[in-house]
Symmetry: C2
Subunit: 345 residues, 2 copies
């Protein structure tokens, strides 16, 4: 594909090109790109705002992350934060820092991913800032969403005896990252390298293209279940559960044998000689929903597809514990994927 | 001052430390930091959203920009975008990328500036993302504000015969930058260097600590003047005026002898052998307001303190022209401070 230097277009030319023909799907979007600020209207709802910053070399490695996937993921993880408040994402703004090795076509690829995520999840791209960077790519996305009045679910509403539920499976995105890193090392210096992903496609997809769990939020609404607390799992189950317990002033019991783990995750952990439960508890970037529901919802949540009850909330003095297969209680520790050090600890 | 490594606190410890005791002043702020998203409420107003990204080495040089000033400015320039829509800034989220050379105390300094700006302009800090960076400091701020229904002023409402007005004076922030750069070069390698800012303090202040023009927005409201279009001057008068004319499908005439320039700006331009009008037209970061008002407001705006009428809007076929002191018409060109190349062109 022909490559165009960004300097040929300039900042405004680039912005025109990437924001051209952006559709508007939400009635809350009054005015999108093209002014000092976007104009939104939220007369009857609560407004939710979340922001995430992704830096090259810390959060992503362009050796194995295609730009379109990166754009998709950067948007999707913000949507996930809004769903985790029991809300609906409506608008995003995109801040981009671009170093000189990127061309206009590269940025179009990145935006194609952002726009695809917006299209699938019904979100309007309403503004942003595009600037040059001295080193690598910087992506900062802010997402605005809404929730019906009184239906926002935070981290602080869990109560003693509530059931702890999790969607999907855990540890697969982390194993996907391990796999991609392994193949990157294996490919070093080889021109015609073909990475070995057979039978592990799910892990790669979980790492490169996470899907926020809108389906779970909708299913909960259909079932008439209002979670007492909710959070999305970006830093690992342990870390997020500790956030809920700290904010809600509770303890918890989580059962090792209840933690949902995919077959491919187990195979990969075996191959790498890693502890599977540790990966599931502390591996980051699952973007599944962790939530608590009152005990009387037990039958309903047990029947929900893609949701598993993994434990229950306790009084705070009982602490936050993992109950192992043999019945031993081990304190939960936040050893999440730590972007302050740039590595999984 | 004792310095604390960020790794000693970790991401959550750092966030706790810098977001500790943040006051809430706006009724639209329902829930601030500490969950997946902030919760806001805007039942009767239009919501405005703007975002800006600042990168070390591109937008700021920590050799001469104190971190507290940087934090103040990073917040202030976002407030300026909201005022430029005829709105009031209410909340910000702060995304930070921090390289390992920064300590906890450094980040506290930066936040002290952000918080000071928030305090002065009545804005709540409601969320953010803090992460590590491989190279330098990255600041991404999103500001949310509101405007009374029907009172949002965009770039696209200027009409033939409207008066073009500008607040404050132009070119001083750019001259402040030139001065700081000159002193940086002069100081290279010297231990006990004392920069020469006497008589030029205003220029330095304009560059390091710009103030968004809330006062002008309030004065316009008090006078009952509703601008037909408005923009804040971040890239230079020419560039912003061309934005208004393009969005509004008009031309314009701006009179060179009407452009407000401070005495210190003129002295500095003389010293550096730079063209003063070019600096005033194309020097960036003034953060003054450029707006148009109907012709019948002439008397009122002429009486307003800190506002100057510099020209008028014309039919589009007349083009966008600067009328020089000798009556010659020169086409206005956007030669703004271009952060896509990192230099003032």
């Amino acid at each position: 594909m022909a490559q165009t230097e960004i300097s040929q277009l300039g900042e405004f030319g680039l912005i025109d090109r990437i924001t051209n023909d952006i559709p508007i799907v939400n009635s809350s979007t009054v005015k999108a790109v093209g002014d000092d600020a976007a104009v939104l209207s939220y007369p009857d709802t609560e407004v939710l705002v979340t922001t995430d910053m992704l830096l090259e070399g810390v959060h992503f490695d362009l050796t194995y992350v295609p730009l379109k996937h990166l754009g998709y993921k950067a948007a999707a993880v913000n949507f996930s934060d809004i769903y985790a408040m029991n809300g609906t994402p409506r608008q995003i703004t995109v801040g981009l820092g671009i170093s000189s090795r990127f061309t206009v076509e590269h940025i179009e690829e990145l935006y194609a991913g952002i726009r695809l995520a917006c299209e699938i999840y019904g979100v309007d791209l309403v503004g942003g800032d595009t600037t040059s960077s001295r080193s690598g790519l910087v992506i900062s996305i802010t997402c605005i969403g809404d929730a019906r009045k009184g239906e926002v679910v935070g981290r602080d509403g869990a109560h003693d005896t509530d059931l702890i539920c999790v969607s999907g499976d855990l540890g697969s995105a982390y194993m996907g990252l391990q796999l991609l890193e392994r193949e990157k090392v294996a490919s070093a210096g080889q021109k015609e390298f073909v990475p070995k992903f057979e039978g592990k496609e799910y892990l790669v997809e979980r790492q490169l293209k996470p899907e926020p769990r809108r389906d779970i939020i909708r299913a909960l609404q259909e079932q008439g279940i209002m979670p007492t607390s909710m959070i999305d799992i970006s830093d690992g189950l342990s870390s997020e559960l500790l956030h809920i317990c700290k904010s809600s002033d509770t303890g918890c019991r989580v059962y090792e044998d209840r933690i949902p783990i995919d077959y491919q995750t187990a195979v990969m952990a075996e191959e790498l000689g890693m502890n599977l439960v540790t990966a599931a508890l502390n591996g980051g970037e699952d973007y599944e929903l962790l939530f608590t529901v009152p005990l009387h919802c037990h039958e309903k949540v047990e029947k929900m597809e893609g949701v598993k009850v993994i434990g229950h909330i306790t009084k705070p003095e009982l602490g936050c514990m993992l109950v192992s297969r043999d019945g031993a209680e081990l304190p939960l520790r936040a050893q999440g994927f730590n972007h302050m050090s740039g590595t999984a600890e």
